[in-house]
């Protein structure tokens, strides 16, 4: 059932996001050919060509911001509309469990967040006209390896993935909490996001205080190498983020199972 949910969720989102990502890449390519940055730099009098160059630059950056914003909006909308709006009547009566709905939305959202990042980075690479991308990528990886150690190369992407997951689940939990209000559900969802954000910040502070004498003190005072410090910190982060994600997921699942009340 999960793979069916995933398939339909991809269909529903890809039809909007793929064209958007392609537009951004195409626009970067056009910008690369026109090369407005260079035009502005080399020309000393104002002409229509320069004016158009400025417009294409503004348009490009708007498109980058738009891509990121749309990914976020679609992620929120897919959860809010398809589970808690009228479509919820269809989704929640499918012969499957609530957690599969949440997981399918989550996985697809994470994929698109990564997709929007990759697209944006690719578009910057295109526009910058950098050569030897492969070579520079290897240098970047080597740089990371030098600072964070071999393990860092593997834990860093994993931590990023975990960070995105936690962020998405926090949004889902906020929407589910907001839906418990009888009126102004959308505003309540935003307010609940604030509450959850505060909650996570407080948790971070509390855990730092608790571990300050033991864990963090050794990190600061120690003569340990950077990779070692990074390893310990990443373990701390992974445990923390996993716990937080579990709390948000369980909260969302419980609210949508036990307290569901569609309009």
């Amino acid at each position: 059932m999960l793979n069916k949910l995933l398939r339909w969720e991809f269909k529903a989102t890809a039809r909007l996001l793929i064209p958007l990502y392609l537009t951004l890449l195409l626009f970067s390519l056009i910008n690369r050919i026109i090369n407005p940055f260079n035009l502005i730099q080399t020309s000393n009098n104002f002409s229509l060509q320069i004016f158009i160059s400025y417009i294409t630059i503004v348009a490009y950056f708007s498109l980058v911001v738009g891509t990121v914003a749309m990914t976020l909006v679609i992620m929120i909308q897919r959860f809010y509309k398809s589970l808690l709006g009228d479509e919820g009547y269809l989704m929640f009566t499918l012969p499957t469990t609530t957690w599969k709905h949440i997981i399918s939305k989550l996985l697809v959202a994470v994929v698109w967040v990564i997709g929007s990042m990759v697209t944006t980075i690719t578009s910057i690479i295109i526009i910058s006209g950098a050569d030897n991308i492969g070579q520079q990528l290897i240098e970047l990886i080597n740089g990371v390896k030098e600072i964070l150690g071999v393990a860092g190369i593997f834990t860093l992407p994993f931590m990023m993935l975990l960070m995105i997951t936690t962020a998405v689940l926090m949004i889902y939990a906020a929407i589910s909490l907001g839906h418990m209000f009888s009126r102004h559900k959308l505003i309540a969802s935003f307010a609940m996001y604030g509450v959850l954000y505060l909650f996570s910040q407080i948790l971070i502070v509390i855990s730092i205080v608790i571990f300050s004498n033991s864990f963090f003190a050794t990190l600061i005072n120690s003569t340990e190498t950077t990779p070692d410090i990074f390893r310990k910190l990443s373990i701390f982060y992974i445990i923390f983020a996993t716990l937080l994600s579990t709390v948000y997921f369980t909260l969302t699942n419980t609210l949508l199972t036990k307290k569901l009340n569609l309009e």
């Binding site: 339909w8 009547y89 499918l94 499957t96 036990k258």
Partner: protein, 232 residues
């Protein structure tokens, strides 16, 4: 397992309001049941409980021996009051969606009914009127070979001419072992197809009876009886 649905002391409370108050009844298989009551009497709440769209405050509810969950959703075909169709899809994609998720869905039946009602499967749902969407929804729901159909106000939003077609659709598309529960307050329109009635008022069941019994005992139509029971 002769009863498709059983509920015992079922109660649902919203805040301080009791939407359903300790209701108990059973519904045998193979009947067309009218769940009748005025607006706000608890009809939709009951149907939502059957679909796990709400969780009961107390009491229990069994559909074919199971509590509402994945097992019951496989055998229950539900038509909500709302139009729940994904606006971005075409009708044909919606058919594919149902086919994908429900093993008992018959796409041939669906396409037959669509062509009879002159609905183009290539049309996008976004461009359709509310009435047409309701028809599509009913077609999808009735194209399942379910054991229990829960139809919440199936004729509320459509014109009287389409009502007859919809009732025929309902009658022609279910097998004899299946049960249909229709919730409505438009009694005169559906009276002729009902076998069994449940009168519900302020969250309480006032009467459950075979339609034939009512006719024999009182000689009254259900519409008349309803007006008497629910007199304001």
């Amino acid at each position: 397992m002769n009863n498709i649905l059983e509920c015992n002391n079922l109660t649902k409370v919203f805040g301080s309001k009791k939407a359903l108050n300790n209701i108990s009844f059973t519904i045998p298989r193979g009947k067309i049941v009218g769940l009748l009551g005025p607006n706000g009497s608890g009809k939709s709440t009951f149907i939502k409980l059957c679909n796990e769209l709400l969780t009961a405050t107390s009491g229990n509810l069994l559909i074919s021996g199971h509590k509402p969950g994945v097992a019951t959703k496989k055998i229950v075909s539900y038509l909500p009051e709302k139009t729940y169709l994904n606006d971005w899809m075409k009708v044909s994609q919606m058919v594919e969606f149902f086919e994908d998720f429900y093993d008992d869905f018959n796409p041939t039946t669906a396409y037959d009914m669509l062509s009879k009602l002159n609905i183009n499967p290539k049309d996008k749902l976004k461009t359709m009127s509310k009435g047409t969407k309701e028809k599509v929804q009913l077609i999808l729901v009735m194209s399942r070979e379910a054991e229990l159909y829960l139809l919440d106000e199936p004729i509320g939003g459509v014109d009287p001419a389409a009502r007859d077609y919809i009732l025929d659709t309902i009658l022609n598309n279910y097998n004899e072992n299946a049960t249909i529960i229709i919730s409505t307050h438009l009694i005169s329109d559906i009276e002729k197809i009902l076998d069994y009635i449940i009168f519900i008022k302020d969250g309480e069941v006032v009467m459950t009876k075979e339609v034939d019994e009512i006719r024999e005992e009182t000689g009254k139509s259900i519409d008349l009886l309803f007006r008497e029971v629910f007199k304001c």
